[in-house]
Amino acid sequence: MGASILIADDLSFMRMIQKEILTERGYTVAGEAADGLEAVEKFKTLRPDLVLLDITMPNMNGLEAMRKIFTIDPGAKVIMCSALGQQNLIVEAIKAGVKDFIVKPFKPERILSAIEKALRA
């Protein structure tokens, strides 16, 4: 039984691709969220092993959601997904404690190796 992962991205297409990559590798997609608010809510109820969190999302952005998630569980494993040019936001997220980050567009291997390392840490 693979680790459970929560996917948060406002683009359903993006979530679909990520879901496919993850399930193919044997991970369980615990749930999906289309904005930061939903991501925090789902994190509370589902308690996944890891969260893939997009930075740019409506209602509550990824950084804010990340902070909320860390107050719920300081040991939460979060990987940030960002677009190019969001370098400063990524550094901010690292300072706050995310395990890794992925820059879009990404290759499937990249997402998988990041998740593997984050889960192992």
């Binding site: 550094v91 300072k95 706050a96 390392k117």
Partner: protein, 703 residues
């Protein structure tokens, strides 16, 4: 700087470079595969090239440039150092030495025939004197000129790990604790599009398991060009080498991690700025190819791009400024232009014979406005130097969380005042001490949960970091609710160390001892069962470098509070203007307690060790005259400034106390400051120079 002094400075340094070049070439001849030596020779020729080009010695620069080209190829592995290569390099080095000798005699070096040596060098793939590429390897080098990321990253490798006083003290303490000194070079996978965040992730993870002393390129403050972080070098101390290696290589998208165990002494020796290269202990290397990035080789291109080089020196020549601040400045400039034309009109009016009285009134008005505008501009310009302290604070949540998990001590971190703005030049110097204090809190201050419960506290410890502006100062408080320090233990320690006066010390005086170099070493602190490892290090950085002050308050079983007082900016300082030895000097007001009149008859003791009463305390007396080797003029009465440093005070006798005022600090040339007596120089409205006395120099010598 005038021409002859510039020339002198150039010659002094270039001659040393040229001499080292000869020595390094000899070493390279007997060890031709040494990458370190190739790097060294490359660096020397590069420095010679740049410096001579700056001075306009074209022939010399050209020659050094060709040598550098050849070494660049050797460095990226496309040229092996065979005997003919060494021979031409020697020929080049010899010629450089001859040219230097000629330049020292006042010639330009242009009369030397360099053609043959240049041709010899170009045979190995450097450009021929005409500038056309002569081999495939050169074509590759040309691409490097366009400034590929790998090119830039490659250069950082050579950036020396130059350590300041703070870092050296940290090393000395780590050595006393028995930790290992490690130099870690992390190469980010070339496919990574964000190299700085990647390197930051490694740095951040390492900070949780070790004490990171220095990072090149720097992580805090304004980041340099992203590509330069493709290769990041960290110097850290740790008691667990395996953990460090595991942590560094456990980050994804890292192609290569190299760990070198270094010797403390090499870094601690004075002037050992390139200790990173000499301080490597034999056999202490581990090399890891991270599994996630197979086949990512070393960056292989010769860096020839001048811009890349300048960036390679990791100097920050650009800053990021909030556009709102620039807009403020811009609107002030618009007003300035307006008033300028108004004054021009007024002067014409006078020319046309307009009534002088009405012109005068308008002129006064204009002047008032100009006065407001200029102070507004000064403020606005200052503001562009200010950035929110959150750039430092924001990394603490992770640090505390990681440390708290590692130590098994649940800790809540409370941050406040993150919007408080500080001078950007302070950021880099401040980050380490704050990190150090927080780490101390978690390591030594906060107790384990069981102990806390036994002491009637909540299971979870609490660390708070607060920043606020208070007058002309930034005040940063770091407080924990840990076990605190026992002042009586400090008193006992002090007495053990032969400090008999500690018998009657107040609590404040006892706590100040923790800041004394060597007092807060490991065995003392373990006994203190509080915190304070390296507090002397923190104090040195804050007091000497940042011109601030640090204070410690503690209560047994209730916790400890460290308070840092920092000046708002390091470029403008409130100072007391004084005259001594017929020159003007400025004393930063933060170092001045008060001013006083001193009656000659009240000064006791022999010359050089005099003292006098201040309130009811006997404090040292010294005069500016004595500092410069002259005695004190003999009169019945003297003016003096009372200098203060923590609880210590001293009289500084001066000829005249002039006024209190703001002065703008400019760096002072080393030639004028060989004894480090001045922290800067300032220019007054009338064009007079005022040297700003560095009171840490006075303290060192006199109290």
């Amino acid at each position: 700087m005038d021409e002859s002094r510039l020339r002198h400075a150039f010659l002094e340094e270039a001659e040393e470079l040229s001499q080292k070049l000869g020595e390094s070439l000899m070493a390279l001849e007997s060890d031709r595969t040494s990458a370190h030596l190739v790097n060294e020779v490359f660096r020397l020729t590069h420095s010679l090239k740049s410096e001579s080009a700056l001075m306009g010695f074209a022939a010399l620069s050209e020659l050094a440039h060709r040598m550098e080209d050849v070494l660049g190829l050797a460095r990226n592995g496309s040229l092996s150092i065979e005997k003919p290569v060494i021979d031409s390099l020697f020929a080049g080095a010899d010629l450089i030495a001859e040219m230097m000798a000629a330049i020292a005699k006042g010639e330009s070096g242009a009369s030397f025939a360099t053609g043959e040596v240049l041709r010899g060098l170009s045979a190995f793939g450097g450009k021929d004197p005409g500038g056309t590429p002569t081999s495939g390897a050169v074509a590759q080098m040309q691409r490097g000129r366009a400034g590929t990321p790998a090119d830039a990253a490659d250069l950082v490798f050579d950036a020396p790990l130059t350590l300041g006083e703070f870092e050296k003290l940290q090393l000395a303490e780590a050595r006393d604790r028995g930790e290992a000194l490690l130099k870690i070079t992390v190469s980010v996978d070339e496919a990574e599009t964000m190299k700085f965040p990647r390197a930051y992730l490694v740095f951040s993870n390492l900070e949780a398991v070790s004490n990171v002393v220095k990072v090149v390129p720097a992580m805090e403050g304004e980041p340099v060009e992203d590509a330069l972080y493709g290769r990041t070098t960290l110097l850290l101390t740790s008691s667990n080498e395996d953990e460090v290696l595991r942590t560094a290589s456990g980050v994804d998208q890292i192609a290569h991690v190299m760990i070198e165990r270094c010797q403390f002494d090499a870094f601690l020796a004075s002037g050992a700025d390139r200790a990173g290269e000499t301080g490597i202990a034999g056999g202490g290397q581990s090399d890891i190819e991270a599994a996630s990035a197979p086949g990512t080789g070393e960056a292989a291109s010769a860096g020839q791009d001048e811009q890349g080089r300048r960036a390679g020196a990791v100097e920050k020549t650009t800053i990021r400024v909030d556009t709102r601040k620039l807009n403020d400045l811009w609107s002030l400039i618009a007003e300035l232009v307006l008033h300028k034309s108004q004054i021009a009109r007024l002067s014409e009016d006078i020319g046309h014979g307009k009534d002088v009285h009405s012109v005068r009134e308008e002129l006064v008005e204009s002047f008032d406005s100009l006065d407001k505008i200029s102070s507004g501009m000064q403020q606005a310009m200052m503001d562009t130097r200010m950035i929110p302290i959150s750039v430092i604070f924001s990394k603490f949540p992770r640090l505390v969380r990681d440390l708290s998990r590692k130590l098994g001590k649940p800790v809540e971190l409370v941050l406040a005042g993150e919007d408080t703005e500080i001078d950007r030049s302070v950021v880099e110097a401040l980050s380490d001490p704050l990190t150090h204090i927080i780490r101390n809190s978690l390591d030594h201050g906060i107790e384990f949960p069981e102990e806390r419960v036994r002491r009637g506290k909540s299971e979870k410890g609490r660390v708070s970091v607060t920043a606020r502006r208070q007058g002309g100062n930034i005040v940063i408080e770091l407080e924990d609710d840990g076990r605190g320090m026992d002042v009586e233990t400090i008193r006992r320690k002090a007495l053990d160390m032969g400090m008999n006066e500690a018998e009657t010390f107040t609590d404040g005086q006892l706590l100040d001892l923790v800041f004394l170099p060597g007092f807060s070493t490991k065995d003392v602190v373990t006994d203190l069962s509080g915190r304070g490892v390296g507090m002397d290090v923190v104090a040195t950085r804050v007091r000497s470098e940042l011109k601030g002050d640090v204070m410690l308050r503690t209560e047994n079983n209730r916790g400890t509070r460290v308070t840092l007082f920092l000046p708002l900016t390091l470029t403008i300082v409130n100072a007391l203007l004084i005259r001594g030895e017929s020159h003007l000097y400025a004393l930063p007001l933060t170092d001045v307690d008060s001013t006083a009149k001193l009656v000659s008859a009240e000064i006791r003791g022999e010359e050089g060790r005099e003292s006098a009463l201040w309130m009811d305390e006997e404090i040292p007396v010294f005069s500016l005259g004595a500092l410069f080797g002259n005695g004190r003029p003999k009169t019945d009465e003297y003016f003096a400034a009372v200098l203060r440093h923590g609880d210590r005070k001293a009289y500084l006798v001066v000829d005249e106390l002039i006024e209190e005022r703001e002065v703008v600090i400019k760096p002072v040339d080393d030639l004028l400051n060989s004894q480090k007596m001045f922290s800067g120089v300032s220019v007054l409205e009338n064009g007079k120079l005022v040297f700003i006395l560095d009171t840490s120099f006075l303290r060192r010598e006199h109290f």
